[in-house]
Symmetry: C2
Subunit: 318 residues, 2 copies
Amino acid sequence: MKVPPDLLSFLKEEDNFIIATHIDPEPDAIGSSIALSIALERLGKKTVLYDRDNIPEIYRFLPGCEKFTNSISSLNTSHLPVILLDCNTLERAGIKNSSFRLTAVVDHHETEQTYGDIKWIEPEAAATGIMVFYLLKDLGIKITEDIALNLYSAIAIDTGTFRYSNTTSEVFRISAELVEAGAKPAYVAHSLYETWSEHRFALLIMALNTLDIKDSLAITFVTKQMFKQTGTKPEDTENFANLPRVMKNIKIAAFFRELNDNHWKVSLRSKGDINVASIAKGFNGGGHKNAAGFEIKASLESGKEALLKAVSPVFKSP
Amino acid sequence: MKVPPDLLSFLKEEDNFIIATHIDPEPDAIGSSIALSIALERLGKKTVLYDRDNIPEIYRFLPGCEKFTNSISSLNTSHLPVILLDCNTLERAGIKNSSFRLTAVVDHHETEQTYGDIKWIEPEAAATGIMVFYLLKDLGIKITEDIALNLYSAIAIDTGTFRYSNTTSEVFRISAELVEAGAKPAYVAHSLYETWSEHRFALLIMALNTLDIKDSLAITFVTKQMFKQTGTKPEDTENFANLPRVMKNIKIAAFFRELNDNHWKVSLRSKGDINVASIAKGFNGGGHKNAAGFEIKASLESGKEALLKAVSPVFKSP
């Protein structure tokens, strides 16, 4: 992986930067941005870290996250350069009414977009954090403990803590270096995965008790009543859809969350080559191949039946 | 980490070995043993791989696991040397009525035992697989794909796939090398975590429904009756102990498995600096700092009370 020379020149020559990342930020977006910001400031430059949305509570263990602002409207941005990190359009960064003198894009998401004056897109990189790691090396920046923790967390989240197929030997070698620089794997794993409330865990158990297996489809659900009973919120169901995937014979896991009477949000998670985005589209929803969703106005039973009907051809195809 | 010269001499000089590992084998025991066996056979030696218990179905993806035998009674072992891997007593290997000419011990479990003619004990090693990796290097053995897959799985299981505090930079560097030699992280993660039977998942839900939180201790259990009801086996409870750890306020998760009336196997999992090995020792058990276990002959209620009493001082210490 080679950092483009024009990107390096740009970072060395400019003095002020806006670093913007995508809406609904997660640790690759947050950690990569903070690490780059620390590095540029070490070189005597000024940076503004921008995200349209607030940093979620669970990711506030990332040192430097308090530097994010969600307002750049007061800045005269038109004479400033912007660096888009972990995204490749202003739209994905939630930026609508600002213009910039120059735009640089550093991202690992595949794209057909041609946006950006200076572009570095590496779809093979497991995380944008990996790209920023190489950037910092080329800029001659020492990896401090804060930088290491941010970049390690970026890599951890985007590789499913070293479980996804993007976990290469390069990912492990860089992680080794980040641990030597002060990143603590157990602390990061704890911060990412072990900060559930007891209420949230109680809700999970309730959801699991609703498990209904039909063919290779596993369905679980939570009702408004369950939220009330456990004192939890919809965001507490994050990742609930994934758990039934541990079963060997389950190809799709569906999670129904009650929005209103006879109105459900359905999250679909699939394994391998099974495309749930196309199933979700059939219900006017959308998403990615292995993670998609839709809303349905129906009783729980009718909703389940409609879904089973929609997924059956997928199970039958070779 | 340095391989003792007398261990290397012993491995080079002998021609026949029995490699024995602990009862209830998991991937560190299995993978380390297979890797060492392949290496010694590459040097023209003969090995017998012994485990008292059968290799659990879920770990049979490890290449070479079919070479394990659970009978050495027909062998005239008294003129043979034995290598104890990932354990440090014959008792822990379930060997009762056999004697050996010489005993070598290669283990990362902390021990006060002085058993073994040749000993290499490294409590700082994240897995016995790490020790075997260094052994193979010193023996000049090329890491093949089969060896890499076995050693990577050994490391993956004993570090909680890179989530426990034993995940050092060394662990990442060795994993990088094993991936380069052919280990596939996503395949291992899938094999370890996504091959559950529906029966096993049903048992998990039953276990979660027994959740009892006392202070910072979370207790779950399964009974013989639950195994019967779901058509599952003790090995199906692997990792059940871990799940309640996702709760922020839980410092220790304990999982009680009924062996017989008023007789339980208790698995303990802790976070961070909380040492459950010392708690297990108090019940004549053992293990590592964050994963240990013991047996107790008591009713479930008495067992829970005894445990709560034992862990209370740990919760109170700063």
